[in-house]
């Protein structure tokens, strides 16, 4: 009796450990679906090197994007790509089966066993996909132009196949290790895992679009040009970080860009009291309807895009705009004010104000409505005039809100946003308008200097996070509560 019990518990322990490894392996496999470097479906150079297995299975047009010429010349057969596409889908389906089994392994004994069966089926299905890819490769190898088609066989093929075979073996072992479920056992999942599985897709999406993006920072350490493949012989360490400061041209660029960034953020911070004053003065208008009207129409610009703000700017200030029309009507010459680089910091600040002041004021208007009426009455009794009430009652009531927003503004000093400066940028005003975000865009997307752009963006992100935590710390010390 005693020995049987210990055997059973050690058996349970092995199944628990096996299940843990099993789930881990399935997670790794499903992540590998999204990594282009180990895409088993990349059997020739015509398949883009930034295609993951998942992408190959989702989009036939992306898979065959580079094959049009080759297939027209008769170097390859279309059928090999159809096989490749179907195989990718089949492998993905098989892996989805394994993922489902991994989820089911959180349930009761019966559900676990069902999951293992499903996983074995899934692995069996994937096997067809692997055969298909091999067939497609053999077909492509027959090509008359091997230098153009570049048939190749990825190590990823063997890695993924090995992993899937391992999953199948583990499933079988687990099936054998677990006791047979009794008649009364039902396939069910406990509440806590049910809820977890419901939120899992969203956690995965967050991982894909926020955390996986950080993986892109690796480009900062490589000598990479757009369209190439990353390989270790292109690893350059911190070359690009030092390059920023050693190369005279980029150094002067960085200095200029930082001056622009600080100037424009500084202007914004220096005048960040304007929305507060706007709100205080707006509340001095006693007619509710007029106030409502003003509030509605001064907040509209906040909801139109920067492209449209630029469009409005053209309508008024371009050489065929309103101001030029008026000048021409009085015998002057048409001027395109947008093409000039003069006072560009101030202009950008004013456009930002025009767009945002009405909206930013709303938070202060709500703040004013939250101020205790008795304070005003007491102040009036004490003989305070209108301005004294504004200065001594309303203002102090709004300062805490102001401080929070100001500290947040300091934390965001490097992030001016991209779109405003992008749309207003032109050949003439480029030097004074280029803020950090725009600089990253210009060198990365326009000029294709991917590593350099990544270095700048990466440094910016890290400093911004540090600033945010710093601001939070300051706020905690000064006000006793945090802002994030």
């Amino acid at each position: 009796m005693h020995t049987e019990k210990t055997v059973k518990s050690s058996n349970e322990k092995t199944t628990a450990i096996l299940f843990f490894l099993y789930r881990l392996l399935i997670i790794l496999i499903s992540i590998s679906l999204f990594i282009p470097a180990i895409n088993p479906a990349r059997v020739c150079g015509l398949v883009n090197d930034n295609m993951s297995l998942f992408t190959s299975a989702v989009s036939y047009s992306a898979l065959t994007a580079n094959t049009i010429r080759a297939s027209m010349r008769g170097w390859i057969q279309d059928s090999s790509f159809v096989i490749l596409y179907i195989s990718s889908i089949v492998i993905c389906l098989g892996i989805i089966g394994s993922v489902a089994s991994g989820c089911m392994s959180l349930g009761s004994l019966k559900l676990k066993r069902l999951g293992n069966l499903l996983s074995i089926v899934g692995c069996g299905v994937s096997a067809f996909g692997f055969v298909g890819i091999a067939m497609s490769y053999l077909q492509l190898e027959q090509t008359t132009k091997p230098d153009k088609v570049q048939p190749m066989f990825q190590t990823g093929y063997f890695i993924l196949m090995g992993a899937i075979i391992l999953v199948a073996i583990m499933s079988i072992v687990l099936l054998l290790l677990q006791p047979k479920p009794g008649e009364k056992d039902i396939a069910e999942l406990s509440q806590k895992y049910k809820l977890f599985l419901l939120i899992l897709p969203f956690v995965v999406l967050t991982f894909l679009f926020s955390y996986l993006t950080l993986w892109g920072w690796r480009y900062a350490f490589f000598d990479y040009k757009a369209g190439e493949t990353l390989s270790w012989d292109k690893f350059v360490g911190f070359k690009w970080f030092t390059y920023l400061f050693k190369n005279a041209a980029t150094r002067s660029d960085i200095v200029r860009v930082m001056v622009n960034t600080f100037a424009m953020s500084g202007l914004g911070l220096f005048f960040s009291w304007v929305p507060m004053v706007f709100a205080i003065f707006l509340c001095e208008i006693k007619n509710t309807k007029i106030r409502r009207f003003i509030q509605t129409f001064t907040t509209i610009p906040n909801f139109i895009s920067w492209v449209l703000v630029y469009s409005v700017a053209c309508v008024i200030f371009a050489s065929d705009g309103l101001v030029s029309s008026l000048i021409q009507a009085n015998g002057g010459e048409a001027v395109n004010f947008l093409m000039s680089g003069k006072h560009i910091w101030l202009k950008m600040f004013l456009w930002g104000m025009w767009k945002g002041v009405g909206w930013s004021a709303i938070i202060y208007i709500a703040g004013i409505s939250g101020i205790d009426q008795q304070l005003y009455e007491a102040a009036t009794v004490d003989g305070a005039g209108r301005f004294q009430r504004m200065w001594n009652v309303t203002m102090p009531g709004l300062i805490p809100t102001f401080m929070v927003l100001f500290v947040m503004g300091v934390a965001g000093i490097l992030s001016n946003g991209l779109e405003q400066y992008l749309v207003f940028q032109n050949a003439i005003n480029k030097n004074p308008i280029e803020v950090l975000d725009l600089y990253v865009y210009n060198i990365g997307i326009d000029k294709g200097k991917i590593p350099l752009s990544t270095v700048v963006g990466m440094s910016k992100s890290i400093i911004s996070v540090a600033l945010l935590f710093g601001a939070n710390r300051v706020s905690k010390i000064v006000r006793g509560n945090s802002i994030i």
Binding site: W217, F297, I483
Partner: protein, 318 residues
């Protein structure tokens, strides 16, 4: 914590309209006049550009070309708008913009509602970890290039889904919805569980209907964001112009005005007369701008309440 909605009650209006009595000073009167004047002028600067844009697109094109329309429209016609409908390039961009706005907003709201509900469930395995995992992404940003490379790795460049999928999980909105759902009395849910309802049933039958105000708010913000978004189209859809949004096309027309006609006419079957009309880059640009801004201007006055609620909720959180 119950979320306060300041614009629903009349608290602020009470203060404004029944200000304490004071003696009339000349300074006060002068201040009132100047104050009104300032706000009226500023409001005009916010309205007038759109009005000016509008009257110039419906007025006689000849007068517009000579810059003679300033305050009053003359020779009203809608040919400019009609001729735009022949430009397949633009109608396609309009379609894409509408589709991404509708689909993107719908999915985002549904997902945000569900996640907001799920993270209030204490019994979830690893609840705090997953909640923080999602929410902390608000505070960091890998940068433009890693984002682009990641999207291209996931096959979302030159792909309509590139607009939709990344915007499904919106951490900030999840916080708002979670806070709101926490303010709903727990008894409502508990009695449903007693009766054997599943989580999904409770979500669709109880939580979803009760959180409609907050969901409407995030829907309005989401829709405006989708409609106005430029950079994702600009960076992700570089090679496939049929997937570019209206904002992106407008940006191209505005900044690359020299070959405007070439861009617009190249792939459309258009009569010579309309081509001639499109040649007038000023009027065409302005009409496209009007088409782009119109949905916002149309919707904004009706939705203003939701926008302000959203702003307040953000403030409550901050």
């Amino acid at each position: 914590m119950a979320v306060k909605l300041p614009f629903k009650n009349k608290k602020n209006d009470k203060y404004m309209s029944s200000a304490p009595k004071y003696r009339i000073h000349i300074g006060d009167v002068l201040f009132d006049i100047l104050n009104h004047l300032f706000f009226i002028v500023f409001t005009l600067t916010c309205i007038f550009p759109f009005y000016y844009l509008f009257i110039n697109t419906i007025s006689d094109n000849d007068l517009v070309r000579r810059g003679l329309i300033t305050i009053i429209p003359k020779g009203i016609h809608f040919k400019n708008y009609l001729s735009l409908t022949n430009v397949t390039d633009l109608t396609q961009a309009f379609k894409i913009s509408v589709m991404r706005t509708v689909l993107g907003t719908a999915l985002m709201v549904a997902a945000t509602g569900l996640v907001g509900f799920l993270v209030t469930k204490q019994e979830m395995w690893g609840r705090r970890i997953w909640y923080r995992f999602i929410v902390v992404t608000m505070y960091f940003n890998a940068g433009l290039i890693p984002w682009y490379l990641n999207m291209s790795m996931l096959g979302l460049t030159d792909n309509f889904m590139g607009y939709i999928i990344p915007s499904i999980v919106a951490p900030y909105n999840i916080i708002l919805v979670k806070t709101y759902i926490e303010s709903i009395p727990v008894e409502l849910e508990e009695s449903a569980y007693m009766d054997g309802a599943t989580y999904m049933k409770v979500f669709t039958k109880i939580i979803w209907p009760l959180s409609k105000p907050i969901l409407a708010t995030i829907a309005v913000f989401g829709a405006v964001g989708h409609w106005n978004s430029l950079y994702d189209s600009l960076i992700l859809m570089q090679n496939d112009s049929s997937l570019q949004t209206l904002q992106h096309r407008l940006f191209i027309y505005l900044t690359k005005a020299n070959n405007l006609k070439e861009i617009m006419v190249s792939n459309s079957a258009i009569s010579a007369e309309i081509q001639e009309q499109l040649l007038d880059s000023k009027i065409t640009k302005w009409t496209v701008s009007m088409v782009t801004v119109f949905p916002i201007l149309l919707v904004y006055p009706f939705m203003q309440r939701y926008f302000e609620t959203g702003m307040m909720l953000g403030a409550v959180k901050g």
